[in-house]
């Protein structure tokens, strides 16, 4: 019996049930502006997926990638292409009912996974040559590749080019976003506590020593890159199907930087740190919208305050909020060793 698979599937079912419950609850909360809050919650979720997936590449494997937005774009456009041009027209021919609803969910899941796979393949294509470079060089090359992907999309008329793609079906919701939040956290958690994850960490710590221990460093760098890109693609797919609109401008390198800031702020290599930073930064960016009105300012000081907060945090806690630890480590301090 493959009871480990059964247990995992049961876990997924439980997670799904809980998420459905929460999403009904969120829809029910009768406070004004709840639609806005729901939107923020979903944005947080998408940012968590981005940060945790980038953390696999930057934090665990130690490869400084600046092209995350590019892979996000690949996933977003691939999944939107499928749902917009194929699945939505097909679904429209069916009669309304639970059958169509179920089929729509299944097709959406398929589209997201296809988007993730396309992003993963893009990650592989980009990673294979560029991961032979180190540090700054890799950062520049990935930055370049991210931009190339964006410019390519900008020039494909079929998917809207510079006009963007409007009318992407609104398939994404709280459930799907947080479903993948759970998946990316579990995957990344299990990876880093396996020999594969240890190989990532070894590459980050010392490539020469890792090779001397029989770790094929290029192989593991590419693997981390592909897995991270896959989830960036999923995040892109969710974003497109939530905003109902896609535009290449959404995937500029500033988007990659947002994700990098989350990973660095949370603490490189810390999964819970990435989650925490994604939540804090998204909430901060939204919360600061009120500053202009509250103080009757003529221009919006949002980004200035945001920048100051980042500078202060990096000044006061350069290792990030959690360093390379996980949230749990702070509650059960291991005996011995320095903290």
């Amino acid at each position: 019996m493959r009871n480990w698979l059964v247990r995992d599937l049961a876990g997924i079912a439980v997670i799904s049930a809980v998420l459905v419950g929460i999403s009904y609850f969120l829809g029910w909360i009768p406070i004004p502006g709840m639609a806005y809050y729901n939107r923020v919650i979903v944005t947080i979720g998408i940012n968590i997926i981005l940060a945790v997936s980038l953390n696999i590449i930057n934090g665990h494997a130690g490869q400084f990638s600046m092209g995350h937005a590019g892979f996000m774009a690949v996933g977003a456009y691939t999944s939107a292409y499928l749902t917009y041009f194929h699945f939505q027209p097909f679904l429209a021919t069916l009669a309304e009912g639970p059958g169509r609803f179920a089929l729509q969910q299944a097709l959406f899941l398929g589209a997201l996974l296809a988007g993730g796979a396309a992003a993963g393949i893009a990650g592989w294509v980009v990673g294979l040559p560029s991961l032979r470079l180190r540090g700054d060089y890799l950062a520049i090359v990935t930055l370049g590749f991210g931009e190339i992907i964006r410019v390519l999309i900008l020039n494909i008329d079929k998917i809207g080019g510079a006009r963007g793609l409007s009318g992407v079906p609104a398939f994404a919701n709280f459930f799907w976003v947080y479903f993948f939040v759970c998946i990316v956290i579990i995957v990344s958690w299990r990876l880093v506590r396996s020999q594969v994850g240890r190989a990532f960490l070894a590459v980050r710590e010392d490539e020469i020593a890792a090779e001397a221990m029989g770790v094929n460093t290029t192989h593991y760098k590419v693997q981390a890159f592909v897995i991270g890109s896959f989830f960036a693609g999923i995040a892109g797919g969710l974003l497109g199907h939530y905003l109902v609109y896609l535009n290449p401008g959404m995937f500029q390198f500033t988007k990659s930087f947002e994700a990098i800031v989350m990973v660095v702020l949370g603490g490189m290599g810390s999964i819970s740190g990435s989650v925490l930073a994604a939540v804090i930064l998204t909430v901060a960016l939204e919360g600061l919208r009120f500053v202009k009105e509250a103080f009757g300012l003529t221009s919006d000081p949002r980004m200035v305050i945001y920048a100051i907060v980042l500078i202060l945090l990096m000044r006061l806690r350069p290792q990030g909020l959690l360093g390379n630890r996980e949230l749990g480590d702070f509650f059960r301090r291991r005996k011995g060793g320095d903290r």
Binding site: W4, L191, V196, A199, E205, A212, M213, N216, G337
Partner: protein, 259 residues
């Protein structure tokens, strides 16, 4: 000899630009032999090590590990052939736990994919259980098991050296290459290390190639010694012979007296 040499270097030379760092290096190590490689600073000892373990490619000559020519192989392939090493300037994975350090050492033996890791498959569990057991065994051999979950950088220098040896042993090598294992250790620690190296050889039945500055250590445990000076092999023989060899005394020991 009927047994394949675990390591065989024939006419190995390497040039960096105009500088010949190592010239016509020859060495064959039989299973369970304990061989020392000595020489004054800059003699090319570590360069030899780096060639044997695939970090550098020799300009000329042939290196065979377990009978396989390593010319086209990467460092990690050579580890798979059964040669594991330590480094002169310690290279433990500093912010990982001792346990993880040793588990990475056994990397080539724990074969499962990312999918196994994510799904926690049976293969994953079996390998992880084995990895945990083997890593703890090695750590306890070096009296480090009580700190298994501490970060490697929190260890004192001498323990980091021993952790590095434990990590190399986790690869279950046929040949263990130690690059100045006693560097920075005091006399007491060095004596302990000598006993430990011999014990490792006897327990695991592996060959050891040792680079060392510490004469006491090399003369004390090595069965055969090779002396390098300016990249050339100037002597090769049993410790007693090396100690009496006038060329060696002039190049190495003689120099030490002047200082």
């Amino acid at each position: 000899m009927t047994v394949t040499a675990v390591l065989e270097a024939k006419g190995v030379s390497i040039r960096f630009g105009g500088l010949t760092a190592v010239c016509d290096f020859n060495l064959a190590i039989q299973p369970t032999e304990l061989v020392g490689l000595i020489g004054p600073n800059g003699a090319g000892k570590t360069t030899v090590f780096n060639m044997l373990t695939g970090v550098y490619k020799p300009t000329e000559g042939e290196i065979r590990v377990s009978g396989v020519n390593t010319r086209t192989l990467k460092a990690f392939d050579i580890t798979k052939l059964g040669a594991a090493r330590t480094f002169q300037n310690i290279r433990v994975f500093k912010s990982l736990s001792l346990l993880d350090n040793v588990k990475i050492g056994g990397h080539i033996h724990y074969k499962y994919s990312w999918a196994d890791s994510v799904l926690h498959s049976i293969t994953f569990r079996e390998h992880e259980r084995q990895a945990e057991k083997e890593a703890l065994e090695l750590l306890s051999m070096f009296d480090l098991d009580h700190r298994a979950h501490d970060e490697a950088k929190s260890l004192p220098y001498g323990d980091q050296r021993r952790l590095e040896i434990a990590r190399a042993l986790a690869a279950k090598p046929k040949l263990l290459l130690l690059d100045e294992p006693a560097a920075g250790l005091n006399t007491g620690e060095t004596t302990e290390l000598m006993q430990q190296i011999r014990a490792i050889r006897d327990k695991f039945g592996i060959a050891v190639l040792l680079i060392e500055h510490n004469m006491e250590l090399v003369m004390g445990i090595c069965e055969r010694i090779l002396v390098l000076n300016y990249g050339k092999t100037i002597a090769h023989g049993r410790p007693e012979e090396i100690q009496r060899n006038p060329v060696v005394i002039e190049a190495y020991l003689g120099e030490a007296v002047e200082v």
